[in-house]
Symmetry: C2
Subunit: 208 residues, 2 copies
DNA sequence: GTAGTATCTGAATGGTGTTCAGATAGTATG
DNA sequence: CATACTATCTGAACACCATTCAGATACTAC
């Protein structure tokens, strides 16, 4: 088990005995560590050292390592949802063309996130942060952007009502699966644009 | 970090000093452990104890924990490929109906595996066993069954040549993504049949 | 300024991957 | 058969990990 020795030597000194906002600092350090080393290889001790605090201090804010990971997961999900909304707002307009562009950009943004931060993506979908109830995490936000996009595609006559019914499921699954397979090296990176081509072809007969 | 204490107490005695087939035994024990506790939480020491051997003995067969995990991953991929081929052979016939049934059963088999062995599925696609080259693992076997199935769908006129071009990509991605999202609790289990409905609707206009 | 409380420390426990010198047992050679 | 050789496995050690807990520290309210 090769320990990376990255970031291990940054015990950021703090001025006062009390940290101020230790919880947030711990989460940020943990995010950085996961980002670099992957969701496994996350070490509470290293996190504590990075923040400049003793390992025990962590337990004043999280009963457990799993709780820290869970909360970290929530933050990452939220960050991703923001990106999705930004991507959507970038392409205004009520035309069918605008709706189609939004759909594609939504998928692209999803993959761009996965591909640029594979370790964070693994944290989200690799069984590290358990989802409480049977539904949709608080990924509702991210899910809503897709729903809205599909509504537009239906309203502008791009997809049929029948297809609309399965829109979220098919699109989310395909984009999620392709992102997963690509970052794990089972599909080449270029495959994602092809996936989007294929998905659009399947859902409404292709480009236009 | 709650250690499960499952299987911890089975130091299977061996008769001779030499084990006989230690490597295979180690892999089998590791598979069992991953199956129960998840890919993280895999412990070489526990594996060694299960087999009835000292922790150091492992290093005579694997230079590293990661190598063990990698080899384990290969085995699991192979097991899955066998299931896929069995599922395909279960439904013979050259009709369009048979081809469509095969397609659906291929997806079902994929998901059934993921859902019945989520921890093994996580091992395969969670970044634990790094894939060497840029392509398709030795999942080629499993991939070939899909290719063959899509060829049949094209030959029997179920899908268009244009759609055929994206068949593997779209189908594999969608099934992989849905499986992933379901076992992580982001989608309900029932969603998978819906996904297949949606996928078929998208790819050739539905049940028919 | 004192009491009380939230925050953080230090040390200890038991588990982990990994290394390495040496013990053990099979195999080939005389 | 005895000896040398080699593959296989052990034991002890190291550094790191999560987690616990008694106690030290510093902020807050009275």
């Amino acid at each position: 088990m090769s320990s990376s020795n990255v970031l291990r030597s940054k015990p950021s000194q703090r001025d006062s005995y009390h940290h101020g906002d230790l919880k947030a600092a711990l989460l940020q350090a943990a995010a950085e560590l996961v980002r670099e080393n992957g969701p496994d290889h996350l070490s509470l001790r290293t996190v504590a050292t990075m923040v400049g605090v003793s390992p025990s201090a962590v337990y004043h804010y999280f009963p457990d390592k799993d709780f820290l990971v869970k909360e970290l997961g929530d933050q990452i999900f939220a960050r991703m949802a923001v990106m999705q909304q930004e991507a959507l707002s970038q392409i205004p307009g009520k035309s069918s063309r605008a709706a189609r562009l939004r759909f594609r950009e939504l998928g692209r943004t999803y993959f761009r996130w996965a591909n640029s931060e594979p370790n964070l993506f693994r944290l989200m979908f690799g069984g590290f942060c358990k989802v409480e109830k049977g539904g949709l995490h608080q990924d509702e936000d991210s899910f809503l952007t897709l729903t809205k996009c599909l509504d537009d595609l239906l309203a502008t006559g791009v997809i049929t009502p029948a297809m609309r019914k399965y829109g979220e499921l098919v699109a989310w699954s395909a984009v999620q699966g392709a992102s997963n397979l690509i970052i794990e090296g089972l599909l080449p990176e270029e495959a994602f644009e092809d996936l989007l081509d294929g998905l659009e072809l399947a859902m409404w007969g292709g480009a236009k």
